[in-house]
């Protein structure tokens, strides 16, 4: 059960959240950082003799609640979009390398056994997993990229007629 103070801070955070259109991970980090700030500020204000409501009102006025959400959105939104675009590039590049790996020059496709024994295949697979995870620190991007990579692998190996794609 949340305290009265926590509920009021949550309302402030909600006001900021309403301006944010970023990934859940980014949103959580931003709001957690701001919550820590508001909690510290309330503790300080109370040590200066204000009661809880006065402390909250003082903290809210000093923080600039109305301006922070739009300002954070302006900073984070372009980077979020750039990250998403870069993450989409990874499975596309992996798919192009995969096609070159799977189809021999005569156009015949490898079997599952052959493809899974090729170190180059596993290197591409690991790159498709690790680049989004490490570069963007987003496991969701990494798992989606990993999923797309394996779907393309299945399509290439089970439908060899797709070689002209």
């Amino acid at each position: 059960m949340k305290s009265n103070l926590d509920q009021k801070i949550d309302r402030y955070l909600e006001a900021i959240r309403s301006h944010l259109h970023v990934s859940k991970e980014t949103e959580y980090e931003l709001l957690d950082e701001i919550a820590a700030h508001l909690e510290d500020a309330v503790v300080d204000a109370r040590q200066h003799g204000l009661d809880e409501d006065e402390a909250l009102a003082d903290v809210a006025a000093r923080f600039g609640l109305d301006e922070v959400g739009p300002a954070l959105q302006t900073v984070h939104a372009p980077w979020e979009s750039a990250d998403a675009i870069m993450a989409c590039v990874v499975p596309v590049v992996a798919a192009l390398i995969l096609r070159w790996l799977i189809f021999a020059p005569d156009g015949s496709a490898m079997s599952w056994q052959q493809i899974l024994l090729r170190p180059a295949f596993w290197i591409v697979a690991l790159v498709a997993l690790l680049v989004p995870a490490l570069q963007f620190s987003r496991w969701r991007y990494a798992l989606i990229t990993w999923g797309v990579f394996w779907v393309l692998t299945v399509i290439f190996v089970t439908l060899p007629n797709i070689q002209n794609w």
């Binding site: 820590a36 700030h37 923080f63 600039g64 922070v68 954070l72 900073v75």
Partner: protein, 109 residues
């Protein structure tokens, strides 16, 4: 925006780099230090520090790390990067030049 606000806005990045040069700090600590060291002159809307800090992090001037010392609440600490130190050196030189030139102009009038 008042004249003082314009000056403060233009100097925020340098001030943040200065503060973080000495030790890692979290947001609330930064706002309090800024107010304390400037006798309140650079006191501003505390929340607006965060967009500036986050932009500086995107630009590689500072790094951040969540820390939770001794089971207390976790806080995000900011530290200066090597690029941030270089930027601070350049900005300090530029501000000193600016102040010297401004002072000269003010004295002639």
């Amino acid at each position: 925006m008042s004249f003082r606000d314009q000056i403060r806005k233009g100097s925020t990045e340098t001030l943040l780099l200065m503060l973080l040069r000495d030790e890692p700090m979290y947001g609330y600590q930064i706002s309090q230090e800024l107010a304390r060291r400037s006798d309140g002159y650079f006191e501003t809307k505390e929340g607006l520090l965060y967009p500036t800090l986050h932009r500086m992090q995107k630009e590689g001037l500072i790094n951040s790390e969540w820390r939770q010392p001794d089971g207390s609440r976790r806080r995000k600490y900011y530290t200066l990067t090597r690029l941030g130190r270089e930027q601070l050196k350049e900005q300090k030189e530029e501000w000193q030049l600016f102040m010297t030139q401004l002072q000269k102009l003010l004295e002639t009038n």
